[in-house]
């Protein structure tokens, strides 16, 4: 019986492989697990933040969109608005040319505190289907992706009524509510993956 069942389950897994093999971060599905080292050499795993809301920010300090948001303190202020006991903010750089030193320099220059995780080979970025910088993901305490997309509704930096999607998503999760806008079109530079 057990063998038959196992065979059935495996068959099902193979049959549905084209659908489920897409190892990407989809809203409503478990976020791909990862372990990455930050600029200080400390390893971070998604699993160790279980129970907390995790914000992932794909970045590239050289991208004009990232620069604009750091100059306008969008990322810093969004992060400050969260309870650090309940929300973890991880910045991820999948640029093939960056390293711990360049990340540390950028962090020092901008004066922020969150770790910058280095994904130089791009494996984590691709598992999340991160395509732009910035590209934001919000993961709930159960490890399920609850938001994927842009930081806000303002790709050109001209919008007068800004909506910060990450802030609203995190606030909704902390209040036990559904995320009103679970996805948006991310905008910005492409992630500079190793090619």
């Amino acid at each position: 019986m057990k063998q038959v069942f196992k065979a059935l389950a495996l068959t099902a897994a193979f049959v549905s492989a084209p659908v489920f093999a897409a190892d990407t971060a989809e809203v409503g599905k478990p976020a791909p697990a990862f372990t990455l080292k930050d600029e200080a050499g400390k390893a971070h795993s998604l699993s160790e933040y279980k129970g907390k809301v995790v914000v992932l920010e794909w970045t590239n300090p050289e991208c004009p969109f990232v620069k604009r948001h750091y100059e306008a303190k969008t990322m810093q202020n969004t992060q400050k608005g969260f309870d650090a006991k309940k929300v973890v903010w991880l910045t991820v750089d999948s640029s093939s040319t960056h390293n711990a030193k360049s990340a540390a320099e950028w962090k020092k220059k901008e004066g922020f505190s969150q770790p910058v995780l280095l994904d130089t080979d791009g494996a984590v970025g691709k598992s999340y289907a991160a395509k732009t910088t910035p590209h934001m993901y919000v993961i709930d305490g159960e490890g399920v992706v609850r938001y994927a997309g842009a930081i806000d509704n303002d790709p050109r930096g001209k919008e007068t009524t800004k909506v910060n999607y990450v802030q609203t998503a995190v606030d909704a999760l902390l209040n036990g509510k559904q995320v009103a806008t679970p996805s948006s079109e991310p905008y910005g530079c492409s992630v500079k993956y190793k090619s």
Partner: protein, 773 residues
């Protein structure tokens, strides 16, 4: 290509070229006012994009039409973006400020498609040079000189990106006639030829889409066929080449692609987003027909796709988290879908889940908690077959209908509760004392009916033994309802998977799975109807039927004993006493009702009223259940049945693992017969207990008899919606618990525990291999 704004051209052309370029540049500068040209996207001081504000006329007339455009010229390998930039980038934006002129929508020539070398990021845009233009209509009262101003906001990218902003202005005189610019009008015409024809434009090819399926399923691929016919109504015969289809931004759809399969026919493949969009998505984009050799014709595509429905894997509530292994190499990604059965279970396809649900439903007929109803029904069937053949089908339909209606109600309740934020599991209704009391009352009432205390589904003449058809049908439907109510806690092995799937799925899937379950449950009777010979084989009626009926009454009472025991777990000894008192009241009520059936008119009314009064009174007095304290005694017999068991607690499990002990967690509930069966027949066996002792296993009991959010969450992590669930954790690989089959065997438990112990053994040194079966 030599061009006045090509700032690199000089170096490539050599001395003579430089002179020529300079001459051309001088000429071009003369043709365009300096305010109409500009450069931007500075790359360390070197501008990568140059823009020019172009008009197709040197003079315009009031009430006349002309065209305004922005030509963007890019350095080699640099590009700007189309209206849908694709995976990254930013759409080029041109905003016009032309007082006295109405400017139409921007016209976008068919774009190129760019891909990163690994093919991971696809974008759409223009390299070298593009003329983005718009039709302009001069006001009737325009005169003098018009100011034309364009603000360009773009993103220029090669590998890195640079924002490009330009404001370009110039003037154009209003005169008696529109005078075309002999140099630039042809350039607008050339650009116009590359702009896809709008949908329905005269003479343009027509695009029609036939989707395979009436809906798209969130997170799933979809396919269809796109046909292109020429203005003459015949299929478009030409070929296509390159990236001939560029999709627009389609909310609710992650990707679409076309492949040419035959002349004028294209196979459409797409992937719906995991998030269900608001409204129905439309297939939008631009299609370029023809080849370089034959010339291109581009058309806009804008056609309805289909509504997106939610499906499995797009849960509204919390979903399982795949905890990564501690062995993960730094920087490596662990696949979400691991090739182990446990993970595969939660990724079952919809079809397989429906099949499992159907089979599980059929198996439920043999479960001890539903078999009495089945036997009852078989008895009823025997009688009916003898009576009249034609009545078998309506009764079977009523029974199936009762089952399906109840299943749908359950599905609705599950969706409602889940929407309310609570994560519920299979059998959850048995965590509610009032529900248990209600089911017990129905069982007792049914039993007394079988004993002949009163008759149901019969008028006065029915006392003589004739069943009124409509009432009989009601009764068949009622038995269907009862079958479902009783079956829910009997989570047969296959059922667990199907239901686990349903709870993690979208509303449509939940309903589908419940319906499949119901159909499976109704299957034996459908078979009896569909196979006439089978029904005839049922034994002939006689006195044995009356005796059998009465005997079945005891079976129902036996089921009540189980429910009373469940109540004991929920509300303690007091709860059991209250329930029994209420059940006696129910007996009294049915007896009164039975008496009334022999009476006439007013006296009958009085008796029925008295019966109702007794029911309401007894209910009000007795049905007040206070949840028992989570004391060790009421924490389920499971703990007691296994010496040395501890109540489950995540911290305690972690501590035991840290101490090098293998851990066995028994997720159970008093109302779960499968759990009880496993505990009595497997977990209490001497050889199993010996194995636990030998390997120093820490045995934990997670009792789900009452609602417990921690346990519900833990079940969900493993793709389960209900108990039983058995986890074996190894100190060597604490992140990888082994989930045992729902029907335990002594061998499977002993082996699992042994594996867990060996894997965690420190004696094996660093090279511990913790292979999973």
């Amino acid at each position: 290509m030599t061009h006045p704004w090509s700032k690199r051209s000089g170096s490539r052309l050599g001395g003579l070229g430089v002179v020529g370029a300079l001459l051309l540049a001088t000429w071009a500068q003369a043709a365009l006012p300096p305010t109409a040209v500009g450069s931007t996207a500075p790359d360390e001081g070197d501008p990568r994009l140059e823009g020019a504000l172009l008009l197709d006329a040197t003079q315009v007339k009031a009430g006349g039409d002309f065209r305004v455009g922005v030509r963007l010229k890019l350095d080699p390998e640099w590009h700007v973006y189309w209206k849908n930039p694709g995976d990254s980038g930013l759409a080029t934006d041109v905003s016009w400020d032309v007082p006295g002129v109405t400017v139409g929508d921007l016209r976008w020539p068919f774009p190129s498609t760019f891909r990163t070398p690994d093919g991971f990021i696809t974008t759409h845009g223009y390299h070298d040079e593009v003329l983005l233009f718009a039709p302009a209509h001069v006001a009737e009262n325009a005169s003098g000189t018009l100011n034309v101003s364009a603000a360009v906001d773009a993103l220029a990218c090669k590998v890195h990106c640079i924002p490009a902003q330009l404001v370009l202005t110039r003037t154009v005189p209003v005169g008696p006639e529109t005078v075309l610019d002999p140099e630039f009008a042809p350039r607008f015409d050339a650009a116009q030829a590359q702009v896809p024809a709008p949908v329905g434009a005269e003479g343009a090819p027509r695009v029609a889409l036939a989707l395979d399926g009436a809906t798209l399923t969130a997170g799933q691929p979809f396919t269809g066929k796109l046909t292109v016919t020429g203005a003459d109504g015949k299929p478009f015969a030409g070929d296509v080449e390159g990236d001939f289809f560029v999709p627009g931004r389609i909310p609710g759809v992650d990707s679409v692609a076309l492949t040419r399969t035959a002349p004028g026919t294209f196979a459409l493949k797409g992937q719906a987003s995991s998030v269900v969009p608001k409204g129905e998505p439309r297939l939008t984009g631009a299609l370029r027909l023809g080849t370089k050799a034959t010339g291109f014709t581009a058309v806009d595509v804008d056609t309805a796709l289909a509504p997106v429905v939610a499906v499995a894997g797009a849960p509204a509530g919390p979903s399982p988290l795949k905890v990564p292994s501690v062995k993960d190499a730094v920087g490596k990604v662990q696949p979400v879908v691991a090739a182990v059965p446990v993970a595969a279970e939660s990724s079952l396809g919809l079809g397989v889940a429906l099949l499992f649900a159907f089979l599980g439903g059929a198996l439920l007929n043999l479960m001890p908690c539903v078999f009495p109803v089945l036997a009852l029904k078989a008895y009823g069937f025997t009688r009916m077959v003898q009576e009249e053949k034609g009545r078998v089908a309506p009764h079977a339909a009523a029974y199936a209908g009762g089952i399906l209606a109840t299943m749908l109600l359950l599905a609705g309740a599950v969706l409602a509760v889940r929407a309310g934020g609570a994560s519920v599991g299979w059998g959850f209704q048995f965590q509610e004392p009032l529900f248990v009391a209600g089911v017990s009352a129905v069982l007792v009432a049914f039993a007394l009916n079988l004993f002949g205390v009163y008759t149901l589904g019969a008028d006065g003449t029915a006392l003589a033994g004739k069943v009124d058809q409509s009432h009989g049908l009601m009764r068949s439907a009622g038995e269907g309802v009862l079958a479902v109510v009783l079956a829910t806690p009997c989570s047969a092995p296959l059922l667990g998977t199907a239901v686990g799937f349903a709870f993690a799925a979208g509303p449509a899937t939940v309903v589908a799975v419940f319906v499949a379950l119901g159909l499976g449950l109704a299957l034996p009777f459908c078979l009896l109807v569909l196979v006439p010979g089978l029904a005839k084989r049922l034994p002939k009626p006689g006195m044995w039927m009356e005796r059998g009926k009465q005997f079945l009454g005891f079976a129902l009472l036996g089921t009540t004993v189980w429910l009373v025991w469940v109540m004991g777990g929920l509300a303690g000894v007091d709860g059991m006493a209250r329930l029994l008192a209420f059940l006696i009241a129910v007996g009294l009520v049915t007896w009164l009702y039975g008496q009334s059936q022999g009476l006439e008119g007013g006296r009958r009314g009085v008796t029925v009223a008295l019966a109702a009064l007794v029911l309401v009174g007894a209910g009000a007095v007795a049905l007040r259940f206070e949840e028992a304290q989570a004391s060790v005694e009421t924490r389920g017999a499971a703990v007691a049945s296994h010496g040395g068991a501890q109540a489950w607690d995540e911290a305690a499990v972690t501590a035991a693992l840290a101490a090098g002990q293998p851990v066995f967690v028994d997720f159970t509930a008093d109302w779960c017969l499968t759990c009880k069966f496993n505990e009595r027949t497997v977990l209490s066996r001497d050889d199993v207990r010996q194995a636990f002792l030998k390997h120093n296993v820490a045995f934990f009991v997670a009792d789900w008899t009452r609602r417990d959010a921690r346990i519900t969450t833990k079940l969900a992590e493993h793709g389960r919606a209900g108990v039983p669930m058995y986890l074996v954790l190894s100190p060597g690989a604490p992140g990888k618990p082994e989930v045992l089959n729902e029907l335990l065997t002594a061998d499977s438990v002993i082996q699992a525990v042994q594996r867990a112990a060996e894997c965690g053994s420190p004696l094996k040194g660093g090279s511990v291999v913790c292979a999973r079966p």
